[in-house]
Amino acid sequence: MSGVRIPSDDLVVGRPLPHESAALHVTGAALYTDDLVARMPGALHAHPVQAPHAHALVRHLDVTPALAVPGVVRVLTGADVPGVGDAGVKGDEPLFPTEVMFHGQAVCWVLGETLEAARLGALAVEVAYEPLPAVVTVREAIEAQSYQGGMPRLERGDVESAFAGAAHVYSGVTECAGQEHFYLETHCSLAHVDESRQVVVQSSTQHPSETQEIVAHVLGVPSHAVTVQCLRMGGGFGGKEMQPHGLAAVAALGATLTGRPVRLRLSRAQDMSMTGKRHGFHTRWRVAFDDDGHLLALDATLTSDGGWSLDLSEPVMTRALCHVDNAYWIPAVRVNGRIARTHKTSQTAFRGFGGPQGMLVIEDVLGRCAPRLGLDPAELRRRNFYREGQATPYGQVVRHPDRAVTCWEQVLETGEVARRLEEVARFNATHEHTKRAIATTPVKFGIAFNFTAFNQGGALVHVYKDGSVLVNHGGTEMGQGLHTKMLQVAATALGVPLDLVRLAPTRTDKVPNTSATAASSGADLNGGAVLDACIQILDRLRPVAAGLLGCAARDVVVYDGRVSASGGPEDASLTWAELVSAAYVQRVQLFAAGFHRTEGLHWDSSTMQGSPFKYFSYGAAAAEVEVDGFTGAHRVLRVDIVHDVGDSLSPLVDVGQVEGAFVQGAGWLTLEDLRWDETDGPQRGRLTTGSASTYKLPSLSELPDDFRVALLERAHEDGAVYGSKAVGEPPLMLAFSVREALRQAAAAFGPEGVAVDLASPATPEAIFWAVEQARGGGVPPGLEAVVEGAPGVVPDQPGASAPPVVPASEELVPAPGLGV
């Protein structure tokens, strides 16, 4: 852009604008997929028949009783599939399974004139099951050696020598639970066959292109016969990246077979029992420190709970392994990953995508070892930060490590942490039954899809003759403010007022072959593509303007809808509309397809080495908590955050992302409690916290009493869209500050310097047992004690025959024989 006349502090990007749909949200006028049903006369409703076993063979399936139920129109079974009956891209997710792999899996779908008819029809379907033994927990899977997919290893340095020579070696086990996405909008698809015989699917999907591909392969038609549209989603958080595909395919199948629109909306209970969640992880680790508390070596085996199919478990594991270092320099590292196959929902992407689970390992290690090393946990953390020139275990040089330091120091300073620590000490000395603590933790998070090919984005920008602008791009809006940012990027790039630009819903027939709106990359990839399209258009308009203004094309400036010559007289200017109109008459193309590929990335997952990330996002948080010694209940009194989003494209949006991610992370770590029936009873494998009344997410009462978020200043990121950085995922991991503060508050009930183990999630009960441990009651139930002494308990090491991640990267391609 030629920007000589543009006041750089008054671009449309960088303004703190409300969400572009805010006025629609608050009035109930914003439409979501399920709101469209009322506009689709004659729509049928789909209801699943869910298996009541975690693992079973379907011996017999009789749908005829359902067809006798008034209002039932059809029952969809595997025999109806004209194409490939698989809901995934790896060939391991049969759409109509003959072997039930988790409790609640749909074995067929009933279509009814009403949802009630479909529900009653589903009750009438007769299914004979032959129950089989089920693996429910990760520990059971480890015991049974029940794994799936690759077993990657990430290694650097001479680990054994590092342990042999270390002053302090500790070993232990860290487990964390998964997390239900609990997007307020459950999965929904609405399919119909349009007047051109095209299959159109409205879907709550973060990945319309892949939804399109799956629908096409299930129907046995080319992708060009299917269009997927996502208006907006009521939250996604990764849960709508892979999971919508099969549901959309069922709706589309129903629509093609009946000729009527089909609506498939999961109830909350269905959504929770059928769709994947964040992976729980089990990690056995040993760690070495020198006498000063410097990390020397980490040896760990991370086992994720993958559920019944592979889904995104391999890339999630890759990211977990790439984030066990968080912000810390660990000279010698050996981390193994393996994916347990359990008879549960197929765990999937969730904000952070393995990063949180990987980082939890090192934060838990530091939190548990600090008292054993006789060090303040914050000092231990600070001492191990990356320094300029150091590289991650996977070989990427850590650029801007000073930003972690800046965030950290700014949090301590603006949060007045030193003064407040004294207050906490005074408070704890005078309160027997209540204790407080402040913990500070850093975040370093790599931005880009690990798998290089996904780092591309597309856009289609139209300028109409009246000067109005319509922007399409490949990203989906799920509340993260992507569309708001794209409007700002387009308005800034073209130099027009924001109200001249409109965003069209995300559709696969406008921008094809898109990547998922995921990995925090939405604004980077689609912003790059929108920018590219706008620059193309402006480059075509500039000569037209030059001719009209009598100046050189390079001197044309477009700003706020005015077109003028740099250095020319003020009154010699055109309006944007005049320029566009003139360009049309001169037969200049007024629309452009934009494309963006992130440069400089490479990754080899056979060696687990490379530079997979465009940049790192940094942040730091200081959390103060108060723990009730009677119950283990806690309050978060105050949270201070400094987070690096580069030059913010949209500060109100970015602060909202930071706050929301933090609270969601705190929910994962302290409240949200996925429990499956692990007994040998008839309900084995059922999700026992599968409803809003049993699975609690943060409510207003979990909002920190005092919540202060600052965006790091002077944080321009070269080579990114207007200097901005991604924001969706990284701040979630700032919530480790809450967990570590809870650990320290629990410790405050015991003697000075006591080490405390804390289960995750740190529910009141878990904290209560940690308090009891501090008081002298031993290790909390379900946890394994940290063992001291060289060489430590060596984690399981996969043998030489451990399978690599297949294909040798994060690439998701159809398995052989799947066609398409």
Partner: protein, 496 residues
Amino acid sequence: METGTAPQVRVNGEVLDLEGTDPCTNALDWLRSRGLTGAKEGCAEGECGACAVMVARPDGVGGTHWAAVNACLAPAASLAGREVVTAEGLGTPEHLHPVQSEMAVRGGSQCGYCTPGFVCSMAAEYYRADRRATPTGADAGADDAGAPSPAHEAPGPNGFDLVAISGNLCRCTGYRPIRDAAFALGFPAVDDPLATPAEATSSAPAPCRVEGAAGSYVRPTDLAEALRLLGEHPDAVLVAGSTDWGVDVNLRGSRAPFVIGIDRLPELRALERAPQHLELGAALTLAELERGLAGEVPLLAAVLPQFASPLIRNTATVGGNLATGSPIGDLAPALLALEASVVLEGPAGSRVVPLDTHFTGYRSSVRRPDEVIRSLRVPLPLAGLTAFHKVAKRRFDDISGVAVGLALHVEDGVVARARIGVGGVAATPLRATSTEAALEGRPWTEQTVRAAAAVLREEGTPIDDHRASAAYRRAMLAASLVRLWAEGGAPEAVHA
């Protein structure tokens, strides 16, 4: 033919016909089928508030006020005679309501799915007639170490009580901008048409009969008619706030051909003070009970704010909570400690059953199928030392792992009478009689407390489940008594 007027409801100012609506069709689905898709289904069990709408209700002093309720739980037919306002009725994208405007400009919506419900809960509080500016607002509750009050407990400078929106879940924002929006609100303009709900609502019984293809919803005129209907329709379901049955309908497929709405029977809505007892009408909502008692019964004043969410408390009733017989309902442990009795009304007249003999098993009681709970009786005088301790994963709007109601009469340093109700440790709420015995007649000392706590630890038959382990439940039973001692139960406080 029973009495009844034409079943109509006024929604956003427009009178709509309810005729033909099935009793199991909830208000949310009904509104959405009318094209009002602003209200959303997030959970269908009254836990998330995405379906919240405003309903005009009698305010108990002759007027009306707005109450936000979960539309997913209310039978659509029960709206007959009501006035309802949804997010669409508050404002339009071109003309935002003040609540909508504050939410929009402050980043109070991200994905927007929970937003219409939030807006309705917030608007109901915005219009609360006794909301007053409190200039010192959030600072008022700062404690000795200077920590701010819990975010949701102190009213804003505009008097906004955040509890009003605590039954709405947002998964995106982390709530800070929503809190800011609430605290930024001014007061309704004098000509605001919503400041006073229209005439459509009064405290009258509003009898109605709504016939649908799958059944009928009937709201009788009085208790006698209700009992007669119950006799004629043994399969009838009695519904007051429908916050429990609505969940069964939505999640467990419960259906009923005949539903009797008893929420507005005048006989069930008494709140009376007799010399020997308080009479609490079974059809009083928990919100009405909280307002009506105004702290008169400290133990109930401790329970009610912890009972579910305001969206639920605006419709759930005292009698309904006991009628469900849930072992984890919060009211029963407190009422057991208060030695309450249940007044049952049947064709043969009324009888009074002490609450501790009311429950007979998991979700069952001595109430006969032809009886209705008319009221609760709480004997006077009240115990001087009471507490309610609820242990759950989330501080508010969660179901108890353990709930303990404690009521002690301490006279001259001796525990003269002790009543302890516990929930979550057996198939029914029950009295901790062994613990009571371990306290009564003993000096009120820490030693007594410790000894009795050891007894309380062993009461009931707690189990391991997804809410808590048995070991934790036992520890919490014991802790409840120790906490009572530690937090204001010391002798000087008792005598003060």
